[in-house]
């Protein structure tokens, strides 16, 4: 054993937990059994009882805590700094939220409690729906979707149910080419046909193409507004008319709601359904990938099709769940959605009020425009006009020196920053999609700018340095190709590794 030099700081390579244990160590406790023991073999028949759960580790609580603490150190979280992931709205997650979400009355509430025992949770959902209705300008909400993509599914299904109810079978969903992958995937999942609509040179929907595509078979347009280029669809009124005139509805992807809070409302610019990424705009923590919460706001005409049950306020001010919804599209969550994320989102909105929400939008947009101005000298800016909450550059200038967007991302790590979103939206080759959010300080913005400018210089003067990045992280660049070519997707004891193919049946 020798101390591996440099780049480790206090980081250590931590083996899989399965290699940490020792026979007979325990990491749990249970009360002594106060009822008679029951042998499963007697109760079920021995054929139904397994021997053991082989492979599970034998570790103490201390082992567990140290293992997960150590691996956690290999992560980069929001509390460390700027996380300018475009489209992701990585803003500060208030600590208060973790506290209130864990209030026993919320955390230990069971979804099938009698209504009399659920008034607090139902009231919170009802209040949140009313607030989101204000914010979106759409009268109704469904809180059931567990994330944005499930909101899309819900929205497109409601739209389909609406058309079916009217006796129409419209099969096409129009989707701008700048859209997020979930949009076409959602259309397919609903058994509909996604039709791609090109963007124009201004980065917005090509109205002629849209007109050409819209028609009898148009179920919906899935529009992201502000779009994924960080631009507001300034001809939104015409877009809405084209679709509505064709008998289609407008699904609006609300991933970028942060930019327009209190500035414009989807209900006012023609959206029929609008999903909210609670985990973006209203800052429920991303948790390394989830959970999210993707409520959809919807117009009057879609109301009958909402997933069931819905929260209803009774005349006497009490609340109940109404499951008697004959036209409902059904259910998309086992219970009512990610309630605990609703608590956090609710807390966030109530902390701000109307002025605060508008200030969020203004600061988020200001921060993005600040980056745009300071970086556009060095980085290709496909659309040089005021952006909304995010700005999309490309690696065009750096490509000349053989430096790609991904290299720039990796090099940013050496400067202590999380990289932006890359290679999305697809309409900008080599895209660098930067969303600072309103929770970032001017010092941090300036630090990021300096790092980006330094990298631009390095790309000219020493491209190899950038291509070889990251140099200072614990892991150098990880090999994704090998991972996909020979997938190792679970741990196995070394003795089993060679015979993997036998046991895995691959």
């Amino acid at each position: 054993m020798t101390a591996s030099a440099s780049r480790q700081g206090q980081l250590k390579q931590e083996p899989p937990i399965f290699e940490r244990g020792g026979q007979g160590r325990v990491g749990y406790s249970l009360p002594l059994l106060d009822v008679p023991e029951v042998e499963a073999a007697d109760a079920w028949g021995s054929d139904l009882v397994r021997d053991q759960v082989s492979g599970f580790p034998e570790v103490s609580e201390v082992d567990v805590v140290r293992h997960f603490t150590r691996i956690s150190q290999h992560n980069y979280g929001i509390d460390l700094g700027l996380h300018p992931l475009g489209s992701c709205t990585m803003k500060y997650n208030p600590k208060l939220h973790e506290r209130v979400a864990r209030l026993r009355g919320f955390a230990e509430a069971h979804p099938y409690m009698p209504e009399a025992a659920s008034q607090g949770v139902l009231e919170l959902i009802w209040r949140l729906e009313r607030i989101l209705s204000q914010i979106t300008g759409l009268p109704y909400l469904s809180m059931q979707p567990a994330a944005g993509a499930q909101g899309e599914l819900t929205g497109i299904m409601m739209i389909t149910a609406y058309h079916h109810k009217r006796g129409e079978r419209r099969q096409e969903v129009l989707i701008p080419d700048s859209a997020h992958g979930t949009n076409p995937a959602t259309a397919s999942l609903c058994g509909l046909e996604p039709v791609e609509i090109p963007s124009n040179e201004r980065g917005t929907v090509d109205l002629d193409a849209l007109r050409a595509a819209a028609g009898d078979n148009t179920a919906a347009l899935m529009l992201t507004n502000p779009n994924t280029l960080g631009l507001f669809e300034d001809r939104i009124d015409e877009i809405a008319n084209i679709i509505h005139d064709a008998g289609g509805l407008i699904y609006c992807d609300g991933a970028n709601l942060n930019a327009i809070l209190g500035k414009t409302r989807p209900g006012d610019f023609g959206a029929d359904v609008f999903h909210i990424n609670m985990h973006k705009t209203f800052t429920t923590p991303h948790g390394g990938g989830g959970p999210g919460c993707g409520p959809v706001a919807l117009s009057e005409r879609l109301e009958p099709f909402r997933p069931r049950p819905v929260v209803v306020r009774n005349e006497d001010g009490s609340y109940r769940l109404d499951d008697d919804r004959p036209d409902s599209m059904g259910k998309i969550h086992g219970f009512y959605g990610n309630f605990s994320m609703m608590v956090r989102g609710y807390a966030y909105i109530r902390a701000h009020g109307a002025e605060g929400l508008r200030q969020i939008a203004e600061d988020a947009v200001l921060a993005a425009n600040y980056l745009k101005e300071r970086l556009k000298g060095e980085y290709e800016l496909p659309h040089d006009r005021p952006c909304m909450h995010e700005v999309v550059f490309s690696d065009l200038h750096q490509k000349k020196h053989g430096v790609a967007a991904m290299d720039i991302c990796k090099r940013l790590m050496d400067y202590g920053f999380h990289p932006p979103t890359v290679y999305f939206p697809l309409v900008v080759p080599g895209a660098l999609m930067i969303e600072p959010t309103e929770t970032v300080s001017l010092q941090e913005l300036d630090g990021f700018v300096e790092a980006m400018l330094a990298i631009a210089r390095e790309a000219r003067d020493d491209p190899e340095l950038v291509r070889g990045a990251p140099h200072t992280t614990y892991h150098r660049r990880l090999d994704e190709t090998q991972a996909a070519r020979r997938p190792v997707l679970r741990w196995k004891p070394q003795s089993e590794e060679p015979s993997e193919n036998d046991t895995a049946g691959s």
Binding site: P36, G55, V64, A147, A149, Q150, G191, L366
Partner: protein, 465 residues
């Protein structure tokens, strides 16, 4: 720079909403930035919004709240419920009352885990990635399957996605046979997901008097058969028998679980020939939270992995050969494959899966068995005590930690009567099926002391009488 006296700042703070504390730009910062951007005021940056669509004025919301007020307000709302432990609750039905050790919740609150994004940049996400890899491994060990994804929304959507996956694997439509013992809400969700996939039809497999799924003949047009273990009414199914029936056919055998603790004792479904094992892991490490967030998972055979929805972490190495992890096989996913992805899922339930992972590790090889044994013993005790007091089980099959009982009247009313004594004895099943209006689903786990069970039995027997 304007007035920076404390009073002026207090006023500004209030204008900006109490939320000002979460904004990192101050008035001076904003001014400097506006001038760097070269616009006179902030409105210039919103000029792209057409006048007709612009929202003038203020949203009709209540005023901003300080942290003191907000905490009070939410504590008041929280107090409006009857959580487990304030009342003595025996509600389960797929949102199960298990104990979450304190270190599990402490670890998932580390900002490194809590606030991180999906680890698309693996050099900054090794913590999450290694945890997912370990999660996948644990679920494979528990179920006996080869591959498990990094989570989906919940057990219900896992079943729904499983049905769609069997449709893709079959490369044709057909019938999907769903056990009556599948969680009724899951059945609804699966039907909803498949609602506009016109070549999928659902049929229900009834239960026999033991509470076990009856599988007679599996016709050629069947693409999938979905059974739950233990089933919704608490019965441990004999998966081997069903597996044998399915094996002879082209149909895929899908096993769902809403109570994975049972697999501390029950044979892994892979051993019974399952092609897909899916379900809900909330029992490990996650609270109930009024039903969400949860932890759906999907595990399959190695040969089917390229059809699996959801993220997968895989082991690899960095440029210097150092072992590490990345998200892999992404061509299955929407951000690469778009319209032809295996699902539209993007955000999943990573943090809840992490909690499950930590709890499973802590239990370990011995704890998972001891926990399952405790659940079995407690529920058996409750079943016998209830039967002795005239509240019999609906089925005579073998139970794990949950059981449907007959209360001889409207079960919802019985629950209300019990609630008056601060006991919620179970879920009245009429909400799912009118023909079961006299049935109650009672869940008994390690959190229920004998004393609490005895009291529930007393209160319930009284309420029934």
């Amino acid at each position: 720079m304007g007035d920076t006296s404390p009073n002026a700042v207090a006023a500004a703070r209030n204008d900006a909403g109490g939320g000002g504390r979460y904004l990192s730009l101050g008035p001076a910062d904003r001014e400097a930035m506006l001038s760097a951007v070269g616009v006179a005021d902030i409105d210039a940056l919103f000029a792209a919004i057409p006048a007709a669509s612009r929202f003038e004025g203020m949203l009709g919301l209540e005023p901003a709240m300080s942290e003191i007020e907000l905490l009070d307000h939410l504590e008041e709302l929280a107090a409006g419920n009857a959580p487990h432990r304030r009342v003595s609750s025996f509600l389960g039905a797929g949102c199960n009352p298990h104990f979450v050790p304190s270190h599990v919740d402490a670890l998932i609150q580390r900002q490194e885990f809590l606030t991180a994004y999906t680890p698309y940049q693996p050099e900054l996400g090794q913590g999450t990635l290694q945890a997912i890899f370990e999660f996948q491994s644990l679920v494979c060990m528990l179920t006996g399957m080869d591959v498990c994804n990094a989570s989906v929304y919940d057990g219900a959507s896992a079943v729904a996605e499983a049905v769609l996956m069997t449709r893709r694997l079959a490369r044709r439509g057909g019938r999907v046979l769903v056990s009556e013992g599948l969680h009724p809400a899951y059945t609804v969700v699966a039907r909803t997901y498949a609602r506009y996939i016109e070549d999928i039809q659902f049929d229900v497999l009834p239960l026999d008097e033991h509470g076990r799924t009856v599988v007679d003949q599996v016709d050629d047009d069947v693409i999938a058969l979905v059974v739950q273990q233990p089933n919704f009414f608490g019965i441990v199914e004999d998966l081997r028998v069903i597996g044998e029936r399915v094996a002879a056919t082209g149909a895929k055998f899908v096993v769902n679980t809403t109570e994975p603790v049972a697999f501390g004792l029950a044979i892994p479904p892979a051993q019974a020939g399952a092609d897909l094992v899916v379900g809900e892991l909330q029992s490990f490490g996650n609270g109930m939270n009024f039903g969400g967030p949860l932890v759906g998972f999907m595990a399959c055979r190695d040969g089917d992995k390229r059809n699996l929805p959801g993220r997968l972490a895989g082991r690899t190495a960095d440029e210097e050969g150092k072992e590490g992890y990345v998200l892999t096989l992404s061509t299955r996913e929407q951000h690469i494959r778009r319209a032809r992805a295996t699902s539209n899922i993007c955000t999943n339930e990573a943090l809840c899966a992490l909690a499950s992972c930590i709890h499973m590790c802590s239990l370990g090889r011995n704890g998972i068995v001891e926990l399952a044994r405790a659940n079995l013993a407690k529920a058996t005790y409750a079943r016998q005590a209830l039967a002795a007091r005239g509240v019999p089980a609906v089925y005579d099959g073998p139970y794990f930690n949950e059981l449907a009982v007959r209360v001889g009247g409207d079960a919802a009313k019985v629950v209300d009567r019990c609630l008056a004594h601060d006991v919620i004895p179970g879920v009245a099943l009429g909400r799912f099926d009118a023909s079961r209006a006299d049935q109650l689903l009672v869940c008994v786990t390690e959190v229920h002391s004998k004393q609490a069970i005895d009291r529930m039995v007393d209160v319930l027997a009284e309420a029934v009488a």
